[in-house]
């Protein structure tokens, strides 16, 4: 099979949410000496980007993003391992810890952001909902994350986003992590008020902000 055919099939595996096929084709591609970076960018990333765009147009739904993300994860396990050490920087976009703040059980918006960040090629660690500030900070440190993204859907839980910024400051970690905030009652003005680095009105804006904050140009 032509090398371009492997890349095409990788993209198709993502678009058909087939994790098994994605893993199998990724292995075959490596065995056939396909450039793993090309396979990632033109196969995997292209596929998941297309799923993300379909979601934005509401042609597919959150479960499709999850399944596409699962297929991506399977293939990436093999492909990233095959990338030469001196070129790993080309495929690693950044590590992001995400959670809904303490006291808040809303997570639909956060789930969409998680999937769209994954679709954009970030390594995302979803801590779930009702996450205490100290847990967000500790996990970010353990994972050596680049950015902490927090969501709040209730006006009354919004202050925990401020608490996160203050806690990072107190621990001398403020410049270590970028802070991105979002959620229903969250506004750009609020983000500025609390000293967050970025604000996303919706998932797409959140992804654009993450890229901006981590210096990624597409």
């Amino acid at each position: 099979m032509e090398k371009s055919e492997y890349i095409k099939k990788l993209r198709e595996a993502i678009l058909s949410y087939d994790a098994e096929a994605a893993l199998r084709i990724a292995k075959d591609a490596i065995n056939a000496e396909v450039d793993p970076i090309e396979a990632i960018e033109n196969g995997i990333a292209a596929g998941i980007r297309e799923v993300g765009e379909k979601f934005q147009r509401f042609e597919v739904f959150l479960p499709h993003l999850v399944m596409a993300s699962d297929a991506t994860t399977e293939a990436m396990k093999v492909l990233v391992d095959a990338v030469p050490k001196d070129r790993v920087g080309a495929v690693k976009r950044g590590r992001i810890v995400v959670g809904t703040v303490e006291g808040d059980l809303h997570d639909l918006g956060k789930n969409v952001v998680v999937m769209m960040l994954k679709a954009a090629g970030f390594e995302v660690f979803d801590l779930g909902k009702d996450v205490q500030t100290n847990v967000l900070v500790e996990r970010a440190q353990d994972l050596d994350a680049d950015l902490i993204a927090v969501s709040s859907l209730m006006t009354t839980t919004r202050p925990y986003q401020r608490e996160l910024v203050e806690e990072l400051d107190r621990l001398g970690l403020r410049t270590r992590f970028k802070v991105l905030v979002g959620g229903g009652p969250v506004t750009k003005e609020w983000a500025e008020e609390i000293g967050a680095d970025g604000y996303g009105r919706d998932a797409m804006e959140g992804v654009a902000e993450a890229k901006r904050l981590l210096g990624i140009e597409d």
């Binding site: 999850v66 808040d104 059980l105 009354t156 202050p159």
Partner: protein, 456 residues
């Protein structure tokens, strides 16, 4: 109804499942049920479902979901199972009416009727963010609307000037919220009007804190205790339900299906919109349910989306009306902001829809409401007028659907309009809209009259 402690026990001992596994299982089951029951919009642009057998099929799909899959407790990561007999009993035994408030302000809130002729019940306000300085004044304004049956509290950014962090402040804020509401309804001359606590957080401590027959939540008041999206429940609500069950109260459940989320598209969302009121009753004892179907983009205030979401919503209401005693409400959220023509047109569409589907009206507000910019008394008063006009014209579903299509044509291709804050377009002291808002209101009424609605 299953005992609450039995529900708690099942939440503790049910089969373990990771949350994402539950989410994907829900999606797959919904897809299976949609296919099995052929749940789809059969008319190209049918705004309101007129196929009763479809509504009944949707109800059966929802019952199958509950019996085959159950509900998920996020506190224990376990599945709560119910059997068919329990589900059938619940939908039959749920109260068809709730007595709320006291004295001269007591009201009966009841299940409406599809194509019915009775005026619908209404909660006109809140479930929107207001600062504490407006607390009792806002409550007074909404309580002054004569048709108000109950009023819900509001989201607060701070209390006594402090950010609300941690359980002590949350409990204090909940107590203050109810105190302001109580003061507001008294100032409106309706001291016995039922108040529903809007949760400061969903922690049991802040839900229970305002329980006080003299100064806080009375046995004739209520709590907002919603099931979570994707058919999930949690311990704090079960705990609160257990505490309040011997006190006396009524509980309100936010229970709509969200198209775009884990339930899938509108067809999956309509199943969820039927499932969650049933689960809310069975797990928390909820007796009022604002349900139906919403779209992710609509709730985020991004796009005005009508068909097929309206159609899916109508299936939910009809399924509940035809097959259960559950009291269902329409949560009217608008993409457009206050003091806009498109905002009032969105309100009008939802009011006509709710009326012909027998849904009560619940807290109209801007979907992505900013602080002190979520609602004014104009919207619910306007929606009551539209509802009454719908009843006066004796509109049934099919005719109402055609009128809605005409109104929807005016909204087609239009982006949500930016608007004003509450106080920029409404004088809360004098209880009257600004001249600009009043002019928009009259213009929209004129437009609706041209579409066949007769206002008194």
């Amino acid at each position: 109804m299953i005992e609450l402690i039995e529900v708690a026990e099942r939440a503790r001992t049910g089969p373990r499942l990771e949350e994402m596994e539950w989410n994907m299982m829900l999606f797959r089951k919904m897809q299976e049920l949609i296919k099995e029951y052929d749940l789809r919009c059969r008319g190209v642009e049918e705004f309101i479902n007129t196929d009763d057998s479809l509504a009944d099929d949707a109800f059966r799909a929802a019952c199958d979901f509950i019996v085959d899959v159950g509900a998920y407790c996020i506190s224990t990561n376990r599945v709560i199972h119910f059997d068919e007999a329990e589900v059938k009993k619940a939908v039959r035994e749920a109260p068809k009416q709730v007595l709320m408030g006291e004295g001269k302000d007591a009201r009966v809130f009841r299940q409406g009727q599809v194509d019915g002729l009775e005026p619908i019940n209404i909660n006109p306000g809140h479930h929107a963010p207001f600062t504490e300085d407006l607390g009792s004044l806002v409550a007074k304004n909404f309580a002054q609307i004569p048709r108000t049956d109950f009023i819900e509290g509001f989201n607060l950014p701070a209390v006594d000037g402090r950010d609300i962090y941690g359980q002590p402040l949350e409990a204090y804020a909940a107590i203050r919220e109810v105190a302001w509401m109580r003061e507001g309804v008294r100032k409106a001359g309706r001291p016995g009007l039922a108040i529903v606590l809007y949760p400061i957080t969903t922690r049991a401590s802040s839900l229970i804190a305002p329980m006080n027959p003299q100064l806080g939540l009375r046995p004739t008041d209520g709590l907002l205790m919603s099931t979570l999206p994707d058919v999930k429940v949690e311990y704090d609500h079960i705990t609160t339900a257990i505490v309040f069950s011997s006190y006396g109260y009524f509980a309100v459940n936010g229970s709509f299906g969200m198209a775009g989320g884990f339930c899938g598209g509108p067809e999956g969302a309509l199943i969820e919109g039927i499932v969650r009121p049933i689960i809310g009753y069975m797990t928390y004892g909820d007796s009022l349910h604002y349900t139906g179907v919403e779209h992710l983009a609509y709730v985020m205030g991004e796009r005005i989306i009508l068909h097929p979401i309206n159609w899916a919503r109508s299936v939910v209401y009809q399924a509940l009306c035809r097959n259960t005693n559950l009291i269902y409400m329409d949560w009217n959220i608008t993409c457009s902001e206050l003091c806009t023509e498109t905002g009032l047109l969105e309100n009008a569409i939802r009011s006509v829809e709710a009326t012909v589907n027998g849904a009560a009206l619940y807290a109209p507000r801007v979907s992505r409401a900013k602080m002190n910019a979520g609602q004014t008394p104009v919207e619910p008063e306007f929606m009551i007028e539209v509802s009454d006009a719908t009843l006066k014209a004796k509109l049934k579903r099919a005719e109402a659907g055609k009128i809605l299509q005409q109104i929807a044509n005016q909204l087609r291709g239009r982006s949500p309009e930016k608007g004003k804050t509450t106080q920029e377009c409404y004088d809360l002291v004098k209880h009257k809209p600004s001249p600009e808002y009043e002019a928009i209101y009259h213009q929209v009424k004129k437009t609706l009259s041209q579409h066949g609605l007769e206002f008194t």
